[in-house]
């Protein structure tokens, strides 16, 4: 037959094709190190996405973090200056996390059920989630809607021993739209309502005021409601074969915190194998209503946790990716993350120490 076809006035082309990509799997290694002897984390992750039955896709991921180093323990105003002190003991901690999601396709729409469990020696977090995606206008518009509930159990065996519980319910909705052959826009709204134990058991504040001294243990409200609004834009530049990504997120919660985050990336292929992607991110937040570095009382709501202070933070990162053959991709990247009170326009919390961390990432993805 091939010979017969050859006698006809038709071109005969070389047949060259790759593998059909249906499933993907990967291994990742994430390394994070804070400056000045603080926390270091090494986290390997394995993940897979694959169709498993007619109309059903599965996604699974497992991470194992090992954490070492000193973490903030107390804030004191001894000697008139605010001093943040790290714990003297160097901790060794681990965290295991497993996630499983199943997606059922119904035409072009889909429904996903997910479960996530994260555990550390004194903390267990379990989440159940469900979300659905609907396609409109010939798949130009995708509407996603979802909900989740998280139960956290915190158990500290120190003195005093504490058993804390917390339940967080969340709602999510978002729209993704193709704006043009080169532009795609996504905007998501997330609402979260948490009730229960929010304190950081390990932190406390020592305040010398006049001739009195107060020891205040970190205590936060027993509820936290928040709203996040994230908008993401990807723009392709055909002349450079590059893709620009810009994200902006506004966040507000019932602890009085408002924050803005803006992130931009530029994905630039350098050859048929290599691509480079620099990323810059700017983050700013104001302080929680109950944040302070001195307390004239020993009990009551208040926290000196620098995560609740007012500051600005910048991330600069560079990532590289390499396509190895038809099926494999290797990614590597490194970045620097710095927080400084002065980087928040309008000023940050006074006496907040500068925070400095770097991270690196190595990832391998294979398509099947």
């Amino acid at each position: 037959m091939a010979a017969a076809a050859a006698t006809l006035p038709l071109t005969s082309l070389p047949v060259r094709a790759g593998q059909i990509e249906e499933a993907k799997a990967g291994l990742n290694l994430f390394s994070y190190q804070e400056r000045d002897g603080r926390i270091g984390v090494l986290a390997p992750t394995a993940w897979v996405q694959a169709p498993v039955a007619r109309d059903i896709d599965l996604e699974a991921r497992m991470t194992f973090d090992s954490v070492a180093g000193a973490s903030p323990q107390y804030v004191s105003n001894e000697g008139g200056n605010i001093v943040h002190t790290l714990s003297s003991a160097s901790i060794r901690e681990w965290r295991k996390e497993g996630m499983l999601k199943a997606t059922r396709w119904i035409g072009d729409d889909s429904v996903t059920l997910g479960a996530d469990v994260s555990s550390e020696h004194d903390y267990l977090s379990q989440t159940l989630s469900a979300d659905a995606k609907f396609e409109f206008l010939n798949k130009n518009v995708t509407w996603a809607v979802g909900a989740s509930v998280t139960g956290d159990a915190i158990g500290f065996t120190g003195f005093p021993a504490i058993q804390g519980k917390r339940t967080t319910r969340a709602l999510f909705t978002g729209i993704t739209q193709l704006l043009s052959p080169t532009d795609i826009l996504q905007s998501n709204l997330a609402y979260s309502n948490g009730r229960g134990y929010f304190n950081d058991y390990y932190e406390y504040t020592v305040s010398f005021l006049g001739r009195r001294a107060f020891l205040h243990r970190d205590q936060r409200p027993d509820s936290r409601r928040s709203v996040s609004w994230l908008t993401r834009w990807k723009h392709y530049v055909p002349d450079l074969a590059a893709a620009l990504g810009v994200d902006y997120r506004y966040y507000q919660d019932s602890w009085g915190i408002r924050s803005h985050m803006a992130e931009a990336s530029w994905h630039q292929p350098l050859s048929s194998t290599w691509a480079v992607r620099p990323v810059v991110r700017y983050y700013t937040q104001n302080a929680a209503d109950f944040y302070a570095t001195t307390f004239a009382f020993s009990s009551g709501v208040g926290s000196s946790d620098s995560r609740l202070a007012a500051f600005g933070a910048v991330t600069l990162a560079l990532n590289f990716s390499a396509r190895l053959g038809d099926r494999d991709t290797l990614e590597m990247g490194a970045g620097r993350y710095v927080q400084r009170a002065s980087w928040r326009s309008g000023g940050g919390s006074p006496d907040l120490p500068r925070f400095d961390a770097s991270y690196a990432m190595l990832g391998w993805t294979r398509s099947f």
């Binding site: 006809l8 071109t11 072009d108």
Partner: protein, 277 residues
């Protein structure tokens, strides 16, 4: 041609690409006018009209395709047969009913390439009611011709005529064309993407038009020897070959080989394939 067709082409300027695409489309229309059984003035209709009466003289291009059809019939042990369109009259896939066995048997004398008198350039269908159609050939041939027109004009092109695909060269930067291949058992949503650099892809599938009666599935690809669908075959077969005509023939024959489809395709060198069961 009622299915969706598209041509994607790259050229020096947009105007060049548009002009090239227009020429390729014109070629496809030319072949449709020549071979469509729905057009009373096409050569195929004239041949069918003359069934039981006398021979019809055909042009060089049609003669070439008839020679190819004859070879395909021989080499597939009669499974690929352009006279099997007669069964269309009795199998009504939109009604959902399977025909009676006697009705199918009554059609059998009208089917069979061995009964056709083909002596280039004359073709004669001896019995009234016999017919030929280029259903498994015309679209694939047109896809190959359209791709030829485009590459002859110096363009990189992807031609897609309702799932019969020809890629003359990779996209600029040696990037592959990503062809979505449907898993026939799933409603659209799950499909793999085949990266195609060059070559032709044709798919023969039973899933879109079929009748389910008494829990059994009757596909629309019928064995010309019996008039019934082949049991135990895959739901669809996609074949990659040097041109679409060959890919299409192999895909159709593979489907007709039922449970042996995969083994048979494995034995043919210089093609690769995907079989969905």
């Amino acid at each position: 041609m009622s299915c969706r067709n598209e041509i994607q082409t790259f050229s020096e300027t947009r105007a060049d690409a548009q002009a090239a695409a227009d020429q390729a489309i014109a070629e496809v229309h030319r072949l449709e006018r020549l071979w469509s059984r729905y057009r009373p003035d096409s050569i195929v209709s004239r041949i069918n009209e003359a069934a039981g009466r006398g021979p019809v003289v055909v042009d060089e291009e049609t003669a070439g395709l008839l020679d190819y059809a004859a070879t395909a019939w021989r080499e597939s042990a009669g499974l690929f047969d352009i006279t099997s369109g007669v069964f269309r009259r009795i199998w009504n896939f939109s009604s959902g009913r399977i025909p009676d066995a006697e009705v199918v048997r009554a059609c059998l004398p009208l089917v069979g390439w061995d009964k056709v008198v083909w002596q280039r350039p004359e073709i004669h269908l001896p019995a009234p009611g016999m017919e030929i159609d280029f259903g498994g050939l015309g679209k694939e041939y047109a896809a190959d011709r359209a791709a030829g027109v485009l590459s002859g004009l110096g363009c990189i092109a992807l031609v897609n005529l309702g799932g019969d695909i020809v890629a003359s060269a990779p996209r600029p930067g040696d990037q592959p064309w990503l062809i979505g291949i449907r898993n026939p058992q799933a409603t659209p949503g799950i499909f793999g993407k085949l990266p195609l650099y060059s070559g032709a892809l044709a798919t023969s599938g039973d899933y879109e038009r079929c009748i389910v009666a008494d829990g059994r599935r009757y596909g629309h690809i019928l064995d010309p020897h019996s008039g019934w669908p082949v049991p135990g075959g895959p739901a669809s077969v996609s074949v990659l070959a040097a041109n679409c005509l060959l890919a299409g023939t192999l895909a159709t024959v593979a489907m007709l080989r039922g449970g042996e489809a995969k083994n048979w395709l494995d034995s043919i060198e210089a093609v690769s394939h995907v079989v969905w069961t």
